[in-house]
Amino acid sequence: MKRVAVIGVGLTKFGELWDASFSQLFVEAGTRAINDAGIDGTDVDALYVGNMSGGRFIDQEHISCLIADYAGLTPIPATRVEAACASGGLAIRQGVMAILSGMHEVVVVGGVEKMTDLSTERTTQTLATASDSEWEAFMGMTFPGLYAMMARRHMHEYGTTREQLAMVAVKNHENALHNPYAQFHVRITVEQVLGSPLVADPLRLLDCSPITDGAACVVLASEERAKEFTDSPVFITGSGQASSSIALHSRESITFVDATYNAGQEAYARAGRSPAEVQVAEVHDAFTIGEILAIEGLGLVERGEGGRATEEGETAIGGRIPVNTSGGLKAKGHPVGATGVAQVVEVVLQLRGEAGKRQVDADVGLAHNVGGSGGTAVVHILER
C-alpha cells in the first residue's frame, strides 16, 4: 500500500481522572497532537474516534460530533469506530483508508474512554459486552475468566509457567517507570504478582490491566501534504485487520489468536516486511497471557515460546525485540477505546527518538490491538 504519514501525536495522562470529562480528555489529547503536528484546526479534513462504550460508560452514543464540536472541528466528517478494546486501532486504520481513498488529506484520529464515572461493578458489566453476551457473559463468564482459560490451556500445551506470566507484568511496570503518561509508576516483583489476589485462576490482580480514563490522538496526512508540515514524519507502511468468532468457544484454538495472526500477515504483506524486521512493538497485554499470545501470533517468537522469551529478557528494553516499552496496557493503563491509538503514539515516539529513558534503537515498529478475547485484531507497521 501507499504509505501514510503520522505528523503529530498527543496523549493525556492515563489514570483515574476524576476532574476530566470525556470531551475534555479528547480535547486535551487532540490539541497536543495538532500542536505537535504544527497544523491549524482548519487544516483538518476529517476526524475518526475509537471508543468502546460511550453508550454505557457515560450514557452517550453519537460521541463523534460531540467531540468534533468541543474540539472546534465542526463541520468536518466525524466518525466513531468500535470493536471493543480494538476500537482505537480500527480508527487508525479507517484514518489511513480515508487518506488512501483520496477523499481526505489530513485526518485526526483519536481514541478516548471515560471509565471511572461508573461503579466498578457496572464497569465490569460493560467490559463484558466485548465478549458474547448471550453465550459467555450470561453463563457467568467474565472477561478475566476468558483470558484465564487461555492461560491455563497455554500452560497445559506449552509448559508456560505461572512465573513467566508474572514476568510480563514485571517488565511492563519497569518500562512504565520511564513513561510520564503511565497510570502506574511502581516497580513490582514476580513475588508480588504471585501474591496478589486471585481474580480468575490462574490469573491474579497484577496480571490484569487497570480501569483507566484517557485519550490519545494522532494526526495523519498523505505523504504529499506531510511535507508541508514536517521533514521527518513517521510512516504507516502496513495495516492489517481480521475478525474471528466473538466467543472463545467457537474458535479453532484458544492458545493461538487467529485474528492476531491474520491481521499481522496482512500488515506485513502490505508493508513488505517480515516479523524479523520489527524492532519495537506495542502489543495488547490487557492480561499478561495476552502479551504472550500476541508475540506468538505476530511471529515475533515461535509458537509456544512466548513465556520462555519473556523469561529470557528477549522482550525487555535492551532485548532482541522490546515489547511494550510504554508500559503496555498493564502499567500505562487501558482506557479501552484509546488504547489502540496510544500504542501508535508510543511507536511513533520510539521511531522519532523521543522516548526518553525508555528509548530503543528502531527504524521499524509495530502496534497490535485486540478486541475482546480475540474476535478482532488490528496491526500497523510504522517506519521512519
Partner: protein, 140 residues
C-alpha cells in the same frame, strides 16, 4: 441482565441442548446458528439433540463474579468440548475447584444459571457435572 425476549428465543438450546447440524457438511453447531459457516448459503441446518457429554478443555475459577452471580462465587467456569464436536462455555457444578482437570469427563445437567435481582427473574439452563468414574460413562 438479559431481556426476556432474548432469553426465550434460545430456550430450546438452553433447556434441552438442541443444536444445529449442517446436512451438507455434517458440522454440528452449538450454540445454534442459522447459517453453516463453512457452506454458508449452500448449507442446510437441521436441529440436532446433543448428548450433553464432553470433557473439560480449559477452566478457571471466578473469584470476582459479575452481577447476578454474587451468591455463587467462587465457581468454576469451563470450556467443555462436546462429543459432537462443538465447544461450549458453562459452569461446572458439584465439584471442588481443586478437583477439576483438563480432560475431565463431564455431562450436562439442568440448573439455575443466574438471578436478576432487579427484575426478580431467575434464569435456568445447563451446567456440567463430573461423570462419576469410567463405569458410569460406559453404562449410559
Amino acid at each position: 441482565m438479559m431481556s426476556v425476549p432474548r432469553f426465550w428465543r434460545n430456550t430450546k438450546a438452553r433447556y434441552r441442548m438442541i443444536g444445529r447440524r449442517c446436512r451438507r457438511c455434517g458440522q454440528v453447531y452449538f450454540p445454534p446458528r442459522n447459517l453453516c459457516r463453512r457452506c454458508r448459503r449452500r448449507g442446510e441446518l437441521e436441529e440436532v439433540q446433543l448428548s450433553g457429554r464432553g470433557e473439560v478443555y480449559s477452566f478457571t475459577v471466578i473469584r470476582t463474579p459479575p452481577v447476578g452471580f454474587e451468591r455463587s462465587a467462587p465457581y468454576v467456569m469451563a470450556l467443555v468440548k462436546l462429543e459432537e464436536g462443538p465447544m461450549v462455555t458453562a459452569q461446572l457444578a458439584d465439584v471442588e475447584p481443586e478437583e477439576v482437570r483438563i480432560g475431565m469427563k463431564v455431562r450436562s445437567v439442568f440448573r439455575k444459571i443466574q438471578e436478576d435481582g432487579e427484575a426478580g427473574l431467575i434464569y435456568y439452563g445447563f451446567k456440567f457435572v463430573p461423570v462419576e468414574g469410567e463405569h458410569d460413562v460406559q453404562g449410559e
